[in-house]
Structure formats: structure tokens, C-alpha cells
Symmetry: none
Subunit: 209 residues, 4 copies
Amino acid sequence: MEYSEKQIAIIKAAEKLFAIKGFDGASVRDIAHEADINVAMISYYFGSKEKLMEAVFEARSSNIRLKIENLLADDKLSHLGKVNVLIDDYVDKFIHQQEFHKIMMREQMIEKDTPIAGLIHDLKKRNLESIKRLIEEGQKKGAFKKNIDVVLMMTTLVGTVSQMITSQYFYKKMNNLEHMEEVEFQKHMRKKLSIHLKNLFKQSLSNEQ
Amino acid sequence: MEYSEKQIAIIKAAEKLFAIKGFDGASVRDIAHEADINVAMISYYFGSKEKLMEAVFEARSSNIRLKIENLLADDKLSHLGKVNVLIDDYVDKFIHQQEFHKIMMREQMIEKDTPIAGLIHDLKKRNLESIKRLIEEGQKKGAFKKNIDVVLMMTTLVGTVSQMITSQYFYKKMNNLEHMEEVEFQKHMRKKLSIHLKNLFKQSLSNEQ
Amino acid sequence: MEYSEKQIAIIKAAEKLFAIKGFDGASVRDIAHEADINVAMISYYFGSKEKLMEAVFEARSSNIRLKIENLLADDKLSHLGKVNVLIDDYVDKFIHQQEFHKIMMREQMIEKDTPIAGLIHDLKKRNLESIKRLIEEGQKKGAFKKNIDVVLMMTTLVGTVSQMITSQYFYKKMNNLEHMEEVEFQKHMRKKLSIHLKNLFKQSLSNEQ
Amino acid sequence: MEYSEKQIAIIKAAEKLFAIKGFDGASVRDIAHEADINVAMISYYFGSKEKLMEAVFEARSSNIRLKIENLLADDKLSHLGKVNVLIDDYVDKFIHQQEFHKIMMREQMIEKDTPIAGLIHDLKKRNLESIKRLIEEGQKKGAFKKNIDVVLMMTTLVGTVSQMITSQYFYKKMNNLEHMEEVEFQKHMRKKLSIHLKNLFKQSLSNEQ
DNA sequence: CATGAATGAGTGTTCATTCAT
DNA sequence: TATGAATGAACACTCATTCAT
């Protein structure tokens, strides 16, 4: 799918406003104004507000399966090293695509059988399966414990990063970082999360004492 | 604040629909229909849709500080035992008040200076401070490691439970539990989360090897 | 018709608010609040908002025919003297019952066949007929000119006083009387209007050069 | 400000209904129906019902100062002649823009600090000042008496015409003109008012005996 | 006699979408 | 391809009135 310049502007504006105000809270007029285009263009280009949401998803939801497949094939990294790379990838993606991930979190909550719910489900399923293979590989080689609940570990990974992002203003305040620059703060979050999650995973997966 | 039967019905209906559809997505007509009352009653009783949302919050947001204070004073429990009780409390509260917590998650995301944002912030702050004291107590007594980032640990606790709840349908599918009864599934989730989080916390906090 | 204390309070409140905000602009809740009674009482006592308006009218619209009849019989006053008394009566009534007269002006404008429109019409008709007799008396006795358009003269009398009352804030400003006390200002208006109108009538009616 | 055909239709409908029913009494749905347009168009074009009212005012409230200034400069007319032209202008304007003037009267009465109240005040002030100059010119040249209260004279002028218009149906009945055609009746009113007011002003202003 | 609760119709306004050009 | 105009449905809310007690 190729998008024109205007279409991309609309998708970007939609991503921003859906993240800030939610799907219902953001009106097509808001989005049109933010994207500096005519209101009618949204229906014209995307058919409807819902379809626009789908376009936002499709534009962002490149799955990380390919990356995981490459990781699996990489023989320069230890099994734990591969998990660490995975963690960093997740953290980076969440932080740099905060807006998109906020939308995704919200959409997950909504009990509707929207096309987007399906998209999210498939995306998560594919990713989970690849990660399972990565873990099982480590288990086969004796690097990881048996009895690892991969779904729960992923829940902790995704949940921790999500929670950090949604409550970042609270985090800032609690740690007196209110005057830290946005970019610097993102680096800070990135590092903290990375170390924290790597520790959690190491303790939970690794066989070594 | 004492509520009449009808007012309670409205609050319950609002809690449900705000959780499912979000604040903007749920119309007062939806809520009135769900509560089986006249639309005008919502304005009549609560003044506005926003005030109704606040009522939902006030009705649910009993903070857990008191429980933590009691835990701190309890000398029959080990330090780790206290943390485990805390984890179970959190898990229980989230699971049994899923709808309210979905609302809270969503509200946290929205960048508005609503009165509710303030309520959430204060609630979280109070809880965090009590938990910090609980951890520090354990550190002083040598039961817990030094260098524990309490905020990050709480982020993992809250994030993991939140993520589990938001993606429970995905979890069901991935584990072939689709035909499990709702109540039974909640017990299942509760147990899984409890064990998982206790392990994570034990590894992260405990000094014992 | 005898009214209870509460009913009188309602009528007074209604008179005030109808004058300030108009019939549609003043809600029964406003009136109930102003009268410090329960909303339901208005329907209970008067049947409807419209009927309340009628009650306001009936309470105030004592016609001045009786006074004119007495004037006609008075032989201590000259014909012009009688007219002057009439003018002063009109001016006094308008100024001291400003609120009621504002309502009356407004109601006159509305093109509805309300019962009130009928009340106003009858009231005006009765008054006009008496005044006509007063003028004709003077004409018969040679004190007044022939060819006097009584309706037009009354239009000027009523119109001038009405206009003064509706635009009194403008009048205050134009004459730098903004800090004059309300009571004092009413006296001022009364005197000014009295002299002005007596002059106009003297010039228009009187035969003496 | 240029208005489209539909916008003009809306303004005309609003003028009519505001005059008949008052601002609060006329609903936007009424106006939309009268103008044969969709309800949403009113918000779309004017922003709000209040702004529509302002548009009605701005469309009509061309002040007559320019005309007065021209009158002042005219040396073919006597001073009293100029006043007579002024009277005829006022009468004509009121009769031909009855609906607008009804709105204006009503708005004057309402004790609200609306933008319209300000518009009316400024309009009246400007007109009054020009008329004052016209009168003073006549006084300086000895054509008019000293001691003329211009504000009171204008009150009589405006009040008489207003009162005539608001009570025209009463006037018709009192003079048995009920079956006179509307246009013919307007001519009749115009002539009657013109003569009546010119007489009043001549007597009040002129020095000649 | 009095009232808090409740109602359905109506308010002004905004919505996502479609139309005519 | 692009857009200002237009639409009908829906929005949150207020209205005058009625009901149960």
C-alpha cells in the first residue's frame, strides 16, 4: 500500500490524536485540522474514521518476527544475549512509538470485534510463537530453566513497558525528574527499563546460579 | 456520601460501559439504558457525565494504604511474606474490579487535566509511599537487597496484572482455555499471576540465594 | 381570588424574573428558587407556567378607570388639571411597577392569542374610553382644541414612559447619573417625565395661547 | 461581511421569529424550518444561536448618523425642516423594519450583558449625539427655544413610534381599521405618526408663536 | 398539603459522512 | 483530485410537568 503525502499526514495526525484523546475523543475535524487538510479528505481517502484507524495500525504494526528469526539464526550471541536484544528491541519500539502503542493498549481493552482487534491478535500471536521458539532453543541447550511460562513472561515484559509509558508523568514526579528534557528522559527510561527487565528475565530464565 | 438504589445502578452501569467503550464512547443514553433509568436522571443525580465519572472513581478508589499499614505492623509475617500478601491483594483487586481498573488505565493515558487525573495521581502516590516503607523495613532488617528500585518493581507489578487483564482473551486462546468458565478462569489467572509475581519479587528483593 | 403567602411569593418572584429574562428565558426552577419554594409547587398552585403568568397579570392589572371616573366628577380641578393628574398617575404606576410593565410590553409584542393578550386589550380599551370622555368633556367646555387624536396622545404618553423605563440605564449614562441612588433616580425620572409630558399635553390640548 | 443566499435566508427567518417569539422563545429548529434549511447549518454558518442574533443586528443596525450629518450640512432646509426630515426617517425606519425594532426593544429590556446590549448602546449614543448637534445648531441661530431636553424629546419620538408598532392591532381595532390592507395601513400609520410627531416637536422646539 | 423523584419532550450543538462541483 | 456546503443522526443537557408518598 502506497500512501500519498497527504495521506501520510492524515495518518500521523490520527496517530497522535487517537493516542491523546482516544478514538471517540478525537473527531475527524480535529484530525483534519492537525493534518492541515479538508475534513472530507478523510472519508475520501480512507472511507471512514474506522478505516483510518486500521490504516494507522497497518502503517505501524510491522511485526518483529523477522527480527526474531534473525536472532535465532545468529550464532554469535548467547541464548540470554538473544533475549536481551529482544528486550531492548521491545523497549525501544514502545518508547519511540509511544503514541501508536497507547492506541494499541486502548484498542485491546475495547470489547468490540473490530478488524483492529483481529490485527492485534494476529500480530501478538505471531510474535509470541517466535519468542517461544527462542526460549525453547535455550531450554534445549540447557541454558534456560525448564518450566518457563512464556506467555506470563511476555505479559510482564509488555505490561511493565506499557505501564511505564502510561504513567511516565507520575514516574517523573516520583523521581524528581520533572525538568528533564523529553529526549533525555526517554533515554533515561530506556536504560532503566532495559536493566530492570534484563535482570527480571535473567533471574527467571537462566539456569546459572 | 450515601447513594440511592438508582444512583448505584447508574454508577454500576457507567463503570461497565466506561470500561468497555471508554468515556467518550459510552453515551449517557447507553448508560441510562443499561441502568434501566431515564436519561435525565443522570444529570439530575450527578450533574453531568463528568461528575458521574468522578462518582464512579470515588466509589471504587478506596486506597490500600490502610492494609499496608496493618501489614507493616504485623509481626507474624516475614518481610517477604508481607510482600507476598501485598501481591495477592493487588492481584485480587485488579481481577475483581477489572472494569474499574480498565477505566483507570484509560484515564491515565488521556492527556487531560481532569479532576480524575488528580485523583489517580494521589491514590498512586499514597500507595507507593506505603509500599516504599514496607520495602525499606525489609532492607533495614537485612532481609532484602539494597539497591531496589521500588517504582520499577511496582511498575512491573501493576503492569503485569494490567496487561494480563487487558489481554485475557488472547491469553485464553493461547492456552486453549476458551471454554473455561469465567469464574474458574479468574481463579486460574489469580493463581498464575500470584505465583509468577511472587517469584519475580522474591528473586528481585530477597537476599537469600 | 385569595392567595396564600407562598403563592404571593411565587407571583412576586415570577414578576421579577419574567421582567428580567422574559417568559421563556425564566425557567420555573429559577422562579421556584427565587421564591424559595419547591418547583412542583408552581404546577401545583397555578397549573402551569402560563397560568402563573396570568396570575401575575391579574394581581397587577387593576385598571385606572375608577380613578378617571372620580376625576371626571371632581369639580375642584380644571380640565387641564385633570389631565395633569392623569399623567402623574400613569408615570407613578409605570415607575413603581416597572417589572410588571416590562412584562406587559413584552407580551404585547408577542403574536400569540394568549389569554393575556386578551386581558391587556380589554384593560387598554377600558382605560382609553374613560380618557376619551375626559378629553371630550374639556372640548365641550371649550378648554381643549377640537381635532385631538386621543389614541395618538395616549400612544405618546405610554410610549414615552415605556421608552424611558426600558432605556433608563442609557438615560443614566447620557446624563452622568450613574452613581445616583436607585430611589433618588426614580424620583428624578418621575419629575422629568411629569414636566415633559405635561408640557406636551398642554401644548397639544389647550386652547389658550 | 458578505452573506450567501442561505445565510441571508437564515438571518431573515431569525429576524422574523426573534421578533414574534423572542430570543428564547424561538428555537433554532423553528428558525431552520422557517428558512427551509438544515438545523446544523445555523451552527455551521454562525457558530451559535447568539452569534446569529448578532448577525441579525449587524445586518440591520446601519446607524443614521450619516444621514443626520448630511442634514446638518444642508442649507436648503430650515432648522425645523431638518427636524421634520429626521422624524420622517425615524418613522419610516421603524415601520419598514418593524421586526428588527421589536427585537431591539426586547433586547433593551433584558438585563444581560450580551454583546448585543453593547451594540444597541453604541448605536443609540452615536445617533443621540448627532441629533444634539442638530438641535444646538437651531438654538444658536435662534430658531429653537433654549432649555430643550434632547434626550427626553428623543424618548418621546422613539417611544411613540415603538408603542404604536407594538400596539398596532389595538390601534386598528380602536379606529375600526381591521379590514384595511397591511400596506395601506402602514401608509396610514406613517402619515398619522408623522403629523402627530411633527406637531409635538414644533410646539416643543420652535420659538415662533 | 407538600415534596423529592422521575419523566419524555425539547434544547443548542457536534458528529461522521456525503453531495455537487 | 479536491473541497466547501450540506445533511440527519446523535450528543449532553434542561425543560415544564406529573407521580408516589
